[in-house]
């Protein structure tokens, strides 16, 4: 742990110098494709999910179908851990020689990856693809940057309100129909059962907070002529921020504990029976089923401001994209269509519960599995995407919005000051991104 005196100073400098380790020389890699081979091995990176075996089966079937049409092509699938995906994909962009041809990526990363020069433009192929006509508009937007398409939507994820049926019954509560009712119900639960959070919220749970901003008519950012400007400090957005941050406090979710929580923490709190309500995704279903509250909960869309309205949810999910550096572009695009096609997405829903990106496939899925009903309802009411600017990736990773919420709930700044500062940071990022 300690070095001898003589080497301490050089060692200190070395550690600092080590900051450049991943970019050991200001080098720039060439990500342009040199050729388009029609045979050889296609390398694919997909995310390793919790309980990955069913996904693997669906993928293997799709690959078999692909190989039946392309006898000369081999496919090598690698499942990469979700936690380190950002580093792995960056590394792939840095070293095109060992990069895969096709990757799965989170849809908030689209614009950033396009700016990095990592993803290939597949606008033509996507336009000529018959199945793509049924893609829902929010999903299509999540693969588009500046009117061009950079991949195919793989599945969508959306959040809704989980609540404890037993607690609601005991306290004579009804599933909230408006934001005001939601807040009242949350405080009632906390009052009657102080060991529970009314509605589990998190200062670092950006995707749980966004619906409050959107429901109040606010926006994260506004686009004009391809450039984005932050709208987080508009009066409407501030109203939403105020509504969300008012949920932090001894009467619902004490700031001392909830300010630090992220999305997973709130879902864990709900699943382990420490919360009356939580905002969770369709993808959280398995985790909640595995928890203490199994059989004692239900899901409804998160209510909007007016009674009967649904708060616009964040349209999350993953896409598939061909790397710009791929030397098998045509094959990779074909494989992408196979994996993100209607058949594979339908099977993926059966296997993993991931919501399909095609409106018709989604409807038939809802018939099979009533659980997804509230989520599909939420999507149908109009889910929203994060700003399609490369600046968003930086805003996201430098925790601009969590910092804003945490500043407010810890009482360090008021809504106006915190949202003003956040808007400034967002505009810097949008400006730098061009």
């Amino acid at each position: 742990m300690k070095f001898s005196a003589r080497i301490a100073a050089p060692a200190a400098a070395l550690v600092l110098a080590g900051l450049t380790a991943t970019a050991c020389a200001p080098q720039t890699s060439d990500n342009s494709a040199k050729k388009d081979e029609k045979s050889g091995t296609l390398r694919v990176w997909l995310f390793q999910e919790v309980g990955n075996a069913p996904k693997q089966k669906v993928v293997d079937r799709a690959v078999d179908a692909f190989r039946a049409q392309h006898k000369d092509a081999e496919v090598e699938i690698e499942y990469i851990p979700v936690e380190t995906r950002a580093q792995k994909i960056k590394a792939a962009f840095n070293d095109p020689e060992s990069a895969p041809d096709l990757i799965e990526y989170g849809n908030t990363d689209t614009a950033g990856y396009v700016k990095d020069g990592g993803l290939a433009d597949v606008t033509e192929e996507f336009g000529a693809w018959a199945e793509a006509k049924d893609t829902d508009p929010a999903a299509k937007q999540s693969v588009s940057v500046g009117g061009k398409v950079y991949g195919a939507p793989f599945f969508v994820g959306v959040r809704a309100l989980y609540y404890r049926t037993d607690v609601f019954e005991e306290l004579g509560l009804k599933p909230p129909k408006s934001q005001a009712e939601l807040v009242t119900a949350a405080k009632k639960i906390r009052k009657a059962k102080p060991e529970l959070y009314g509605l589990a919220v998190g200062g670092a749970y950006t995707y749980g907070a966004m619906p409050f901003i959107w429901a109040n008519g606010g926006e994260l950012a506004e686009e004009s002529g391809g450039t984005y400007t932050s709208a987080i400090d508009s009066p409407a957005a501030r109203k939403g921020i105020k509504a969300y941050t008012s949920l932090f406090g001894p009467d619902n979710c004490p700031a001392a504990k909830c300010a630090e929580m992220g999305g997973n923490d709130t879902v864990t709190a709900f699943a382990s029976g420490r919360a009356g309500m939580a905002i969770g995704g369709d993808f959280s279903h398995a985790a909640v089923e595995a928890g203490k509250v199994k059989g004692k909960y239900a899901v409804v869309p998160l209510p909007g401001v007016k009674a009967g309205e649904i708060a616009p949810a964040f349209a999350g999910g993953n896409n598939l994209g061909v790397l710009k550096s791929s030397s098998h572009r045509t094959l990779a695009v074909d494989l992408m269509k196979q994996l993100a096609g209607k058949k594979a997405q339908g099977e993926l829903f059966d296997a993993m519960g991931f919501l399909p990106t095609y409106t018709d496939v989604r409807e038939s899925a809802a018939k099979k599995e009533p659980f997804v009903e509230p989520f599909i309802e939420t999507l149908a009411a109009g889910a929203k995407a994060a700003p399609a600017s490369p600046g968003w990736a930086q805003i996201d990773s430098s925790l601009v919005l969590p910092t804003m919420f945490q500043e407010i709930v810890s009482g360090r700044k008021d809504v106006a000051a915190a949202s003003g500062d956040a808007a400034k940071k967002m505009n810097d990022a949008f400006g730098a991104a061009g």
Binding site: K2, A5, L14, A17, A23, S29, N94, G203, S397
Partner: protein
Amino acid sequence: MSAIARRGSGWTPWLYLAPALVVLGGLLVYPVYQLGLISFLEYTQAQVSGGEPTSFKGLGNYTTLFGDPQFWQVLLATVVFAAACVLATLALGCALAVLLTRVRAVPRLALMMAALGAWATPAITGSTVWVFLFDPDFGPVNKVLGLGDHSWTYGRYSAFALVLLEVVWCSFPFVMVTVYAGIRAIPAEVLEAASLDGASQWRIWRSVMAPMLRPILVVVTIQSVIWDFKIFTQIYVMTNGGGIAGQNLVLNVYAYQKAFASSQYSLGSAIGVVMLLILLAVTLVYLRLLRRQGEEL
């Protein structure tokens, strides 16, 4: 003939130094050169992977950095936090070193083992265990103290205090062992003479032991300064990457967040250069102090 011999002798030291210089050049000078170079460029993920050309920004990164109030706040926090860590580590280390000289063999052995255990624990393990001990829901500390579900990492100062405890815990053994060795080297008759003159314990420490231990104390102080200024693991693990709204950021974690979490490699490099300069200044002071004491360099 004599000219050749003189020239030969002028070159000989360099010849002997060459292998070490080559290694140092490759492992130290070159990376530092790259660090400095990148800090003058616009260099983010887009430049690394070829989406955009790399461009020269001059002092742009430094202007951004120095214009950011958060940087100054983090710098101040780093200096104050490092100073507090150094003082606490030295005070505890010296006190226990003195204690070691006064207790019997068995307690001395126990104290030594406990200290060496703390010293040998990897920083990341130590931090994880400390966070668990103070966990609001499951931690034993809150149970023992009856604090309910008090969160130690919520307040800025209480989070810093928690990290400080961990840092002191894992770095006091170095001070203790070094100072203990120094005290052992003080001739017994000097201490005996002092006590015969009726000096109190505190007086003996202040007027006899501390001056004789000065070279050792200078070494451990400067090393603690360098080490605590660069603190990373403890803050990163215990406050979850810098605390609520970044309240517990220190310079090294801040540089990491800029360089790697948000891929602004050039801005991260600029922070690295600033840290390098600060530590270089500290090191120069250290070398001067050593030289003044007549120690061979």
